[in-house]
């Protein structure tokens, strides 16, 4: 490659516009990345980050505007085109074939003739050495940890000769230690002259890794700033559009009584694998118990087990000293144990996507009242109350919730659960994918419940938030408790070690 003559920008977007129906997802966005630079793309939910990146990787077409690769205008019509331009995207959800080895996944879909395993391995090893990646190319994907799978994804795009890497929220599923490792790899890529675009919500990571930050707000590119000249507060202000306090309250509640106790709980997940094993803990009223762990460590099984959706294999769940194992979900709901579970996709199982707010309010209470007919009036009233109380933005009370934005959907879900005045409130990832404003509103809602002497279980992924919001944090790893710590005293690093506790043998157990 002839240096010096090279144009300034590895990739440049000019006036990119993309609309979905009446929604303008991207409104004349400008963005550019130099070679050997890490650009962070920062923005609240629905600000159009993923849409923009999907256009760079050939999944969508821009309605207007143009993309330049190395100064030349490029038409990217398909992911294959993107590859030929040297653009590689690492998606948030991995796209790997579970039963294939790392090497097989890496070469999958390339046009060249299939090489012998030995040549393939050499090629892969060469790339690994260049960027400081570690991978066992003969290992099957189903045997891999999340971070290993991510490495394979990165290798996949590097193998195709990508010089421009786009990572969509790569740290969401990683422990702090794994994040560090990933960042080291990214820095190495930068040194080698690659351009990297990283999408993330986490401001401290933006500050740590990026050279410049482009901030999107409501589909527009607001500003591009040099990271070294920013701090958390200034970035937040740019992102939200005004100053926001970043403190999370942790109110103290006087009277605490044990309400829910799990004893030697073992639950299999729905696909028959072991979900959680021999888990024992208790939660008291007026307390928020955080549950930390790498995604898929048994959080889902634990929540569904308590709610009666999964069969408990062994052990007992004592609610006010009564064993609720074997009760139907309906009986458990009527005891006042409420779950607002937000699984992988936001609408998940808590809401009915095609129904409006009114009908969603009825989901758990439709059976109330005698006779075969459903009573929609109180639900309608409740829905309009929630809209006011939680400032939910929706075109109408009967608009299907799938048309509402993520933050509002979460508010509808949590709002309904809180209105049922539960005694135990289980929330899983209630702020996943939410912007700062909505997240803080959710934290406040949870704290309000805590003050009302509700026992709250908070399954979260952001360790900073867990440490600030919760009273105690229970760490799960491979379905086992690796420690229950006091959130006021614990550090992020300690949690990180506990989160990986199962994989390295003989770790210290904190009781």
């Amino acid at each position: 490659m002839e240096k010096g003559k090279e144009p300034v920008y590895a990739i440049e977007c000019k006036g990119i516009t993309k609309t979905f129906g009446s929604v303008v997802a991207n409104d004349h966005i400008d963005l550019n990345v130099k070679q050997g630079e890490i650009l962070a793309l920062l923005g609240e939910n629905g600000s159009g980050k993923t849409t923009l990146m999907n256009m760079l990787s050939g999944i969508y077409h821009p309605d207007e505007g143009s993309i330049f690769v190395k100064g030349e205008e490029a038409l990217i019509n398909s992911p294959t085109d993107a590859t030929s331009f040297g653009i590689g995207m690492i998606h948030q959800h991995f796209k790997l074939v579970e039963v294939f080895t790392a090497a097989q996944n890496i070469v999958l879909g390339t046009k060249e003739k299939l090489e012998s395993p030995k040549v393939m391995k050499e090629k892969i090893d060469a790339i690994c050495n260049k960027f400081g990646l570690e991978v066992d190319s003969d290992k099957k994907v189903y045997d891999m940890s999340v971070s290993e799978k991510q490495t394979v994804e990165i290798l996949k795009v590097l193998y195709r000769g990508a010089r421009i890497l786009i990572l969509d929220e790569p740290t969401a599923v990683l422990t702090p230690q794994e994040t560090e490792k990933l960042f080291a790899i990214l820095r190495k890529m930068k040194e080698q002259g690659n351009a990297v675009i990283i999408i993330t919500h986490k401001l401290n990571e933006v500050l740590e890794i990026s050279d410049r930050v482009t901030i999107l707000r409501k589909g527009q590119s607001i500003e591009t700033v040099v990271t070294a000249e920013c701090d958390v507060n200034s970035l937040t202000e740019l992102m939200v559009g005004r100053a926001v306090s970043l403190e999370i309250d942790r109110p103290e509640v006087e009277k605490k009584e044990a309400i829910l106790k799990c004893v030697d709980l073992t639950i299999d997940s729905s696909d028959g694998t072991r979900g959680i094993e021999d888990v024992s803990f208790e939660i008291r009223t007026g307390e928020i118990l955080g549950i930390a762990g790498v995604a898929g460590s048994g959080q889902k099984e634990l929540c569904e087990g308590i709610a009666g959706l999964l069969k408990v294999k062994q052990g007992a769940i004592l609610y006010n000293k009564e064993n609720i194992v074997g009760k139907t979900p309906l009986e458990i709901i009527s005891l006042g144990i409420s779950m607002s579970f937000v699984p992988e996709d936001r609408l998940g199982m808590g809401l009915v996507a095609s129904m409006g707010m009114t009908d969603n309010m009825l989901l758990k209470s439709y059976k109330k009242g005698k006779g075969p007919f459903i009573r929609r009036k109180p639900a309608k009233k409740l829905a309009s109350e929630l809209i006011k109380k939680l400032s939910i933005v929706t075109p109408g009370i009967e608009t299907p919730v799938r048309l509402m934005s993520g933050g509002n959907v979460q508010k509808v879900l949590l709002g309904r659960e809180i209105e049922s005045s539960p005694n135990v409130l289980i929330t899983a990832y209630p702020v996943r994918g939410l912007d700062i404003n909505s997240s803080y509103m959710i934290y406040n809602l949870l704290n309000e419940q805590k003050k009302k002497n509700v026992a709250v279980i908070y399954v979260g992924e952001d360790l900073d938030v867990l440490l600030e919001l919760c009273d105690n944090i229970m760490v799960l790893c491979h379905g086992k408790i690796t420690g229950i710590v006091n959130a006021k005293k614990a550090t992020k690093e300690e949690l990180g070690i506990l989160m990986t506790g199962g994989s390295t043998k003989g770790v210290t157990k904190v009781e």
Binding site: V69, L75, L309, M349, V352, K367, F373
Partner: protein, 366 residues
């Protein structure tokens, strides 16, 4: 990088589809009317090609369905089974249970009802009719329950299951006709006995009372889908089984109950057809209604009142086509082609309600 595709390389596809935001109601109606108009124009071209005057053919078609009292009665007779079957299917479809076994459910309903007509024809009229109706519903309901049970228990594919049951039911009728239920008084070829007068539905205003039953079913299904807890459960299960069990619903029981209801309504059609229309059991008792009803239910977006309108249109078209056949001497196939053209446009229009086309802009620039 040698193979960089620039402006000279591959282009953006000339036309691509984009999902629309939800259209306002009047735009949707306009689109549907436009589709209907286009259908008539395309149909007209076809009619011209086979050497007839399109205006005359269209007028005959509409007139044919209404021109006399007899013609109108014929249209209503076609509409009764179509309307009720569509209503029955709607319940299953709202649960996203792909019941394409209405044919079989109708047949089994007819068989159960016929048993009483053939072997207990000496019962008092009203008692016999009531028993036949209940038997028809149970027959259809059980036929619907079978795939539902396996779906709930083993998660079998209901599409294949219900479809295959159609053939089992059909050949079960042949078996009955050939042996156990053959009319002993009939010389020569085997057939079912004609029902005694006690087993025939009364005529009201010249049409068998099936039309009253159809209206009752329409109102009941309308209220059921709009206001009951049970149908709320059906809708939730249809959207997501996980959500339903999260809300404390007994998903298996809901699947079984709904499919029994869906099958029972279809079974009732079987009873009406044998008792009101044919006056005996035959193999061809359904006249393919079980499949046409699938189209009707979907075109009506699974809404009972719209089903009434669509079923009426279908019946007018069918009756009108038969008159066109005899008046213009065109073959039955031509009438079918005409029906197909109209359906093609009407169903195709649904695509334009949900999507629109975007044409490539020059040079990829705005």
């Amino acid at each position: 990088m040698s193979n960089i595709a620039t402006k000279t390389g591959k282009n953006e596809p000339l036309i691509r589809t984009i999902k629309r935001a939800e259209l306002p109601k009047n735009r949707v109606i306009m689109l549907r009317l436009a589709a209907l108009l286009l259908a008539l124009i395309a149909g007209a071209i076809f009619i011209l090609c086979i050497g007839n005057n399109p205006f005359a053919v269209y007028t005959t078609m509409v007139k044919g369905a209404f021109r006399s009292k007899l013609a109108f009665q014929g249209t209503v007779k076609l509409m009764i089974p179509l309307l009720i079957t569509s209503l029955g299917l709607t319940l299953a479809f709202r649960m996203k249970f792909w019941n394409i076994g209405a044919e079989g459910q109708i047949i089994m309903g007819a068989v159960f009802a016929s048993y009483f007509a053939i072997f207990h024809g000496d019962m008092p009229h009203w008692l016999l009719i009531t028993v036949m109706m209940i038997a028809g519903m149970i027959g259809g309901g059980l036929t619907g329950l079978l795939p539902a049970y396996f779906k709930a228990k083993y998660n079998t594919n209901e599409t294949l299951f219900t479809l295959m049951l159609n053939y089992i039911a059909l050949n079960f009728v042949v078996f009955l006709r050939e042996g156990p239920w053959a009319d002993p008084t009939s010389p020569g070829y085997k057939k079912f006995a004609l029902f005694p007068a006690e087993a025939r539905l009364d005529k009201v205003f010249g049409i068998h009372a099936g039309w009253i039953i159809a209206i009752i079913v329409l109102i009941v299904v309308f209220i059921y889908t709009k206001f009951t807890k049970q149908c709320y459960e059906i809708d939730v299960v249809g959207e997501s089984k996980a959500t339903a069990s999260y809300a404390g619903m007994n998903v298996k029981r809901i699947i079984l109950r709904t499919m029994f209801l869906s099958g029972a309504i279809c079974g009732l059609v079987g009873m009406i057809e044998v008792s009101g229309n044919a006056g005996t059991m035959t193999e061809g008792i359904t006249r393919g209604v079980g499949f046409t009803a699938i189209i009707v239910a979907w075109l009506a977006n699974l809404k009972p009142m719209s089903i009434f309108v669509i079923a009426a249109l279908f019946s007018i078209m069918e009756k009108g086509s038969s008159v066109v056949e005899s008046t213009f001497g065109v073959s039955e196939a031509c009438a079918d082609v005409l029906q197909g053209i109209i359906l093609f446009f009407v169903i195709g229009c649904e695509f334009f309600i949900r999507y629109k086309f975007a044409v490539r802009k020059k040079g990829g620039k705005a």
